[in-house]
């Protein structure tokens, strides 16, 4: 393979992944920090590098509506959004998964108003976990590009036919430039065949789509959707393997473990913070501490088996949440906890909520989390939920 490495941002890497996937229709509304992606895509269409209909939609709601319309005639589609824009699409997200249209979307993870914040956290996409989309979270720009290509293959699989959202942390990934290898178009074409679906309108086989169902049938359609999401697990693993065979980069499917083989204490996290956690692990391992990381890649379908398997092997699990479900705890923690509760074993658990609205998560804070997990384990404490980066004293 010829060396084709370029120094680009996460947003640009997504645009490259989209170009290589050859969508027929692109419809997206700009929003910081996603905007660069849609700008690059329009430049690619302008330059003739991409043969797609680029729709200048007037809102995110229309972006998702337009992509669904295009998908409903069998077109491959792409949209992108972030934060308020994703929330404005919320109706369409449920609609799209229910319609079984495998739209692929990039979401630049950004906090949600109020207060206004253009900076990163994961409250936008995590608040839409129940919208029926496959959700993957990436750690760097290369993974972002590769996952766009994989997303089409997973979403369009006949046993899945479910839309997929590729999430990358706003600014930390979207606006950071790094070395990215651009896959060869011919190889991508080979990896990703043309989109075929039974779920479309055509003049050969006219259909009525998006119908209403009575109580007699609605549960069955929802059952199917849930089944498709579970089907996605095998497809995700197979796609990851096929991708690795062809392009040489493996992402380990539902989760990636780092230094977990003999670990006592493990942090669970999503997205770019996983990189910083790795650096802290290397330092603490050098000091003899058996710490590890479980990087959750897919929040839906959720890696229940992987989390259970990890919980059986380790003594303490901490979850970093760049989100909070007010009045309870972080959403990732709730999900992880629910899986852990399925095994019969004491594991000390802790939830670290922070990194909200763009707050940096430092190496010192991560080291502190591991130390708190060790302390909790030693004291056989009850689980704890804490905001780890408050700059002021609290009432607790």
């Amino acid at each position: 393979m010829k060396n084709n490495k370029v120094f680009i941002s996460g947003d640009e890497a997504v645009a490259q992944g989209v170009r290589l996937s050859r969508p027929h229709v692109v419809a997206a509304y700009p929003i910081t920090p996603q905007t660069i992606t849609v700008e690059r895509l329009s430049e690619m269409v302008e330059a003739g590098e991409m043969d797609a209909e680029y729709m200048h939609v007037e809102s995110e709601h229309s972006a998702i509506s337009a992509t669904m319309g295009a998908s409903a005639v069998g077109a491959r589609t792409f949209t992108a959004s972030s934060s308020q824009g994703l929330l404005y699409m919320a109706e369409g997200l449920h609609y799209c998964s229910g319609g079984r249209w495998p739209v692929v979307m990039m979401n630049a993870n950004r906090s949600v108003a109020l207060p206004w914040s253009i900076y990163g956290d994961q409250r936008d996409s995590l608040s839409l976990l129940d919208s029926g989309w496959i959700q993957v979270y990436v750690e760097d720009a290369q993974e972002a590009l590769d996952m766009i290509i994989q997303a089409y293959k997973i979403a369009e699989h006949k046993d899945v036919l479910t839309p997929m959202m590729v999430n990358l942390d706003g600014f930390i990934l979207t606006h950071t430039y790094e070395l990215v290898e651009i896959p060869d178009q011919e190889m991508v074409d080979h990896f990703l065949p043309a989109f075929e679906t039974p779920n479309k309108m055509s003049f050969e086989n006219p259909k009525n789509l998006g119908f209403s169902s009575r109580p007699d049938d609605n549960t069955e359609f929802k059952y199917q959707q849930n089944e498709a999401m579970f089907n996605a697990i095998d497809v995700i693993h197979k796609t990851d393997k096929d991708f690795a065979d062809m392009f040489g980069r493996k992402y380990h499917g539902m989760v990636e473990e780092y230094m977990c083989e003999d670990a006592d204490v493990v942090l669970v996290a999503l997205g770019s913070v996983c990189g910083t956690v790795r650096v802290v692990i290397d330092k603490m391992r050098a000091e003899g501490k058996k710490v590890g990381l479980l990087k959750i890649r897919y929040m839906r379908p959720f890696p229940v088996e992987e989390v259970k398997d990890l919980a059986k092997r380790v003594k303490a699990i901490g979850v970093i949440d760049k989100d909070i479900s007010f009045g309870y705890e972080g959403t990732v923690y709730t999900n992880v906890n629910s899986a852990i509760s399925q095994i019969d074993k004491y594991v000390f658990k802790s939830n670290f909520v922070g990194g909200l609205g763009g707050r940096d998560i430092t190496k010192a804070e991560i080291e502190d989390m591991y130390n708190k997990l060790y302390a909790g384990l030693e004291n056989k404490s009850e689980e704890t939920v804490e905001f780890f980066s408050l700059n002021v004293e609290s009432n607790d």
Binding site: H24, H61, A66, A72, E91
Partner: protein, 302 residues
């Protein structure tokens, strides 16, 4: 745009025998279903229909009864125009030719919740014909006031009592708002003048780009009229001047019907349960508003 004279006229004698909206569950005597049925007969087989929430989607697609006998889809409520635009773009990108994408949306789906997407669709000049069947209230949810509900109307959210004396605003000026986009072709119509409606759909069918038809479509259930008078009442509305038949084409307005004398507004109103409560003063207000509108149209559009 193809010149009007070049387009063969479609009428009851020569239109396709094929029915594309059949076996639906609309109320008996539904005016909206006449509009949808006739439009689809003009547009023909190679049509994608997109319908937001509203009567026509609610009565057309109840699994497993599929009343659209050609390609059709229910869209998001605020996104019918954009979803249709996506259909048109997707089909084009897939290399399809010689097809039409049409929206059938109610007055609420058009003038209220769907307006942003509609404005965007016209602005982009997407290849979509958008037909608003206007029955002057949210009928699917049980007769609530919309932006196109006329002055005086009693609905379930404008109960015509002491504090809310029926609807207190006039209809939104939808046709001119649409025309103000400098759309290639826009028209108003009424199912009471079916041949005029057929001609306008036929003209819009041949527009490459965005076009719009606002068709007045009666609702016996919401209006309190007998089911058999649905066409008659929609004709009365035009004859008394409350509904006008016009076109906007190549940047010019055209008044298609300019009667020397209007028929009685009062007779039109009193035929309908929704206007029964109106006082003489209310009726006078409706007439004055009509006259002002016609004065302006006659001055500028003739």
């Amino acid at each position: 745009m193809t010149k009007v004279l070049d387009i063969p006229k479609v009428n009851a004698k020569n239109m396709t025998e094929k029915e594309f909206f059949y076996g639906h569950k609309a109320c008996a005597g539904c005016g909206g279903s006449i509009a949808v049925r006739l439009a689809l007969k003009v547009l023909g087989e190679r049509t994608y229909s997109a319908l937001p929430a509203g009567c026509m989607s609610a009565v057309g697609f109840i699994y497993p009864q599929m009343a659209f006998n050609s390609n059709a889809i229910i869209t998001t409520f605020p996104g019918s125009a954009s979803m249709a635009a996506g259909i048109a773009a997707g089909a084009k990108a897939l290399g399809q030719e010689d097809f039409k994408t049409v929206v059938f949306a109610g007055d609420g789906g058009t003038a209220d919740i769907g307006f942003q997407a509609l404005s965007g669709m016209i602005d982009r000049n997407d290849d979509v014909l958008y037909i608003c069947y206007d029955n002057e209230a949210y009928m699917n949810t049980g007769i609530q006031k919309s932006g196109l509900t006329p002055y005086g109307t009693k609905t379930t959210t404008t109960p015509a009592g002491q504090n809310i004396p029926g609807t207190v605003t006039h209809k939104k000026n939808l046709f001119e708002i649409i025309a103000a986009h400098d759309i290639q072709y826009a028209a108003t119509a009424s199912i009471g003048y079916p041949q005029d409606f057929l001609n306008k759909v036929n003209k819009a069918k041949h527009v490459k780009g965005a076009s719009f038809i606002h068709v007045y479509a009666s609702c016996p259930t919401g209006w309190g009229t007998p089911t058999e008078t649905s066409v008659e009442i929609a004709k009365d509305a035009v004859d008394c001047g409350l509904i006008f038949l016009a076109e906007y084409e190549d940047g010019e307005y055209k008044l298609n019907r300019n009667p020397k004398e209007f028929r009685s507004v009062e007779d039109y109103l009193k035929k309908q349960g929704r206007f029964k409560h109106m006082s003489d003063a209310d009726i006078q207000c409706v007439i004055e508003n009509r006259d002002k509108k016609w004065e302006r149209m006659r001055k500028n559009w003739l």
